[in-house]
Subunit: 210 residues, 2 copies
DNA sequence: CTCTCATTCAAACGTCCGTTTGAACTATGC
DNA sequence: GCATAGTTCAAACGGACGTTTGAATGAGAG
């Protein structure tokens, strides 16, 4: 027997990330996942318990490093006094978009998975994602409100929601045209983070109501 | 027999809008739609031909007035010379968000339906939506590029995609917290359009790279 | 070797899916 | 009256779904 570098459990998580990111939760069957992972259909319920539990485990694994990095950056910023809005936006967005940039690795797959699940049509799935990221995200909201005292708290919350949405949008790559499309105006994807940060900073600094 | 103010065909379209907007395409069954519409399961295939054809008809009906209004506004602006970016953003966003504001009517249902389908997990569904709105939207992109000569065309395209995403996001109301949630910072929904336009104008004017 | 326990397997469970069928009903024109 | 075309109906189609079962397989410990 060949020595599998990945356990069945890991293969299931990897393929689930990919397929859930491509077809969404409802649009992806356990059979499609287990066939692609070269595993038996019963393996999902053995290792995770149910389809939803598999999704939960995949979300938790995918979000862990992002949450950790966001926490680390926010701690670091707050230790040096009141951070600026740009610093906060950068510290929030970059950990989520660094995934997209890891070409050739699993990064883009994980990014699409996260971006897709965050705005899944089913509210139950969205809540499942929110439970995995809420604690860190809430800290950024309050920090942003402190960094933008001239804007009303509800306006900052409005901008914050927009930041979440645009990040998920670019993570999911739902807007990417098929390769070779002549109308594709996308730049070097390495600049995506800088473009998005500049876009958000301008909107936060001058586009929020008092 | 009672006189039905709506035909079976119209009831199916109305309920399909509502259910597809709540659960997405894959997550909504024809049986759930036909039961809610008090119609027979076979009525869908009789009136439309298939589940996907029902969705296509619902998208076409929902988008028609939005597209018409966007075309009308753009014609009107271009007749008076080169429009500003703010004028273009307003002419694009307001027809889409006016739906959300029609409280008590079907507007919010239609808005959520449109916003959800525009970013459905399935690429086939997204393309189906794009086919219904592309012609008008493309005109706005070129007009925006003309209105922002200092920004690179690819940067304007980047901002344009962000505008589409944020509009769909607020249409779908995927971010609205459940009623009564104390963290709900949303303002008077009547001001949603103004807040989003101000947010986008600032980002387009000062957040795009040369 | 034997026992143990974790893992994998083929097969089947009941349920729901989108779609199709052919008869029954309804309203209108003759 | 009768014929006709449009619509609705209960019922069934084959297939895919998530889940469960119980036996087979594997490696490691005594």
């Amino acid at each position: 027997m060949e020595t599998p570098v990945e356990s069945t459990r890991e293969r299931l998580l990897n393929i689930a990330e990919q397929r859930f990111g491509e077809g969404g939760y409802e649009g992806t069957s356990l059979r499609a996942i287990t066939v692609a992972a070269a595993a038996n259909i019963a393996a999902v319920n053995y290792h995770f318990g149910s389809k939803e539990a598999l999704l939960r485990a995949a979300v938790a694994r995918a979000m862990a490093p992002v949450n950790t990095e966001r926490r680390r950056r926010l701690d670091q910023l707050e230790a040096k006094g009141q951070p600026t809005a740009e610093q906060l936006i950068r510290a929030f967005v970059e950990p989520g978009l660094d995934l997209v940039l890891r070409r050739g690795e699993r990064g883009p797959v994980v990014a699409r998975f996260i971006g897709r699940i965050a705005f899944d049509p089913s509210q139950r799935i969205r809540e499942l994602y929110a439970a995995e990221s809420d604690p860190v995200e809430a800290r950024y909201l309050t920090a942003l409100q402190a960094a933008l005292p001239r804007a009303a708290p509800s306006s900052v919350a409005f901008g914050y929601v927009n930041m979440l949405g645009l990040l998920a949008l670019h993570q999911s790559q739902a807007l990417a045209r098929p390769p070779g499309d002549p109308t594709d105006q996308s730049e070097d994807p390495g600049k995506l983070a800088e473009n998005l940060i500049a876009f958000l900073v301008a909107a936060f600094d001058r586009g929020l109501r008092a």
